[in-house]
Symmetry: C2
Subunit: 153 residues, 2 copies
DNA sequence: CACAATTAAGTTGCGCACAATCAAGTGCCA
DNA sequence: TGGCACTTGATTGTGCGCAACTTAATTGTG
């Protein structure tokens, strides 16, 4: 007893739809919580990386976040306009632009400390469950990335 | 032995980041596969709903997809320009715009039948695992939606 | 050293997501 | 029946994500 092929076209069977829906639902929660900090969710992610690493070139930032310069350049410009980061050409390699948080950007970290707890509470999941889900999703991402690059050949 | 609060700000601990990364990795796979059909992923979702329901107002479409008219109006215009759907004001309620697939739009369904199988193959997950993940994600979405609306009060 | 290939950022263009706002149609009810 | 609240969809503006392209700097190679 197998599912008819046609049923695979049903919206409610598609993992990617559930994934997108969950990501957008998260976006709604983050939007409320991050409004106080004056950050969007992608901007918050950039600040997370900068808080952790202090200073790094746009390239490295993009590797951490899976984003390219097409997304990061304008985003970083907005963060710089908000006074949270500074960008300056590397002296050793003029192609590279190093990004680092300003004093104000570092100070924002204190206010961000409670964000993860509030988010975790909103999910209604316990820590083990979150951890488990994260592991599965990362495995999924790896498989999909492999498939994409394999298909390009 | 608990995790220090500061560590919760680490990027690699955040479920939402894994979620977003997986959704974008899916986007990459769908982009390759759907290119033949001339559809983007959100357009494909709209066609899925129309193939299943035949014809329905923008409002209903948005409820199925969790999208509002701000997203759907321009998207539907593009689908109409591509000759895949038609939009017309309902006679019984002049506020409502009914969307239905054209003959060409219905014909596209045949070529879309193999998409889910190709996607499933790219995930490297078996059906049970996909089903399980979908269930968890839907539960997560419900919890997040509840939290958002609760916070608005 | 000259010059082609590579690399880092930025820019442009398109489509999606969503908040806020607007216009038009509907329905209720005093 | 006239007015008011509600519903539906469209529009506007902002920001993200990504492909394609451009520019400038660096590296590798003969």
């Amino acid at each position: 007893m197998t599912t008819p092929t046609a049923d695979w076209l049903r919206l409610d069977q598609q993992i990617c739809f559930s994934l997108n829906a969950a990501a957008r639902a998260f976006g709604g929660v983050y939007r409320v919580i991050l409004k106080d900090l004056g950050l969007t969710y992608p901007q918050y992610l950039v600040m997370l990386v900068l808080w952790e690493h202090g200073e790094l070139p746009v390239k490295r930032l993009g590797e951490h976040l899976r984003l390219d310069s097409g997304t990061l350049s304008p985003l970083l410009k907005r963060l710089e306009a908000a006074g949270l980061v500074r960008r300056e050409r590397s002296a050793s390699d003029e192609r590279s632009v190093r990004v680092r948080p300003t004093e104000e950007g570092r100070a924002l970290r204190e206010r961000a400390l409670e964000v993860p707890r509030r988010i975790a509470a909103a999910t209604g999941f316990d820590l083990d469950e979150i951890q488990d889900l994260r592991t599965r999703l990362d495995r999924l991402t790896d498989a999909l990335d492999t498939a994409t690059t394999a298909d390009r050949e």
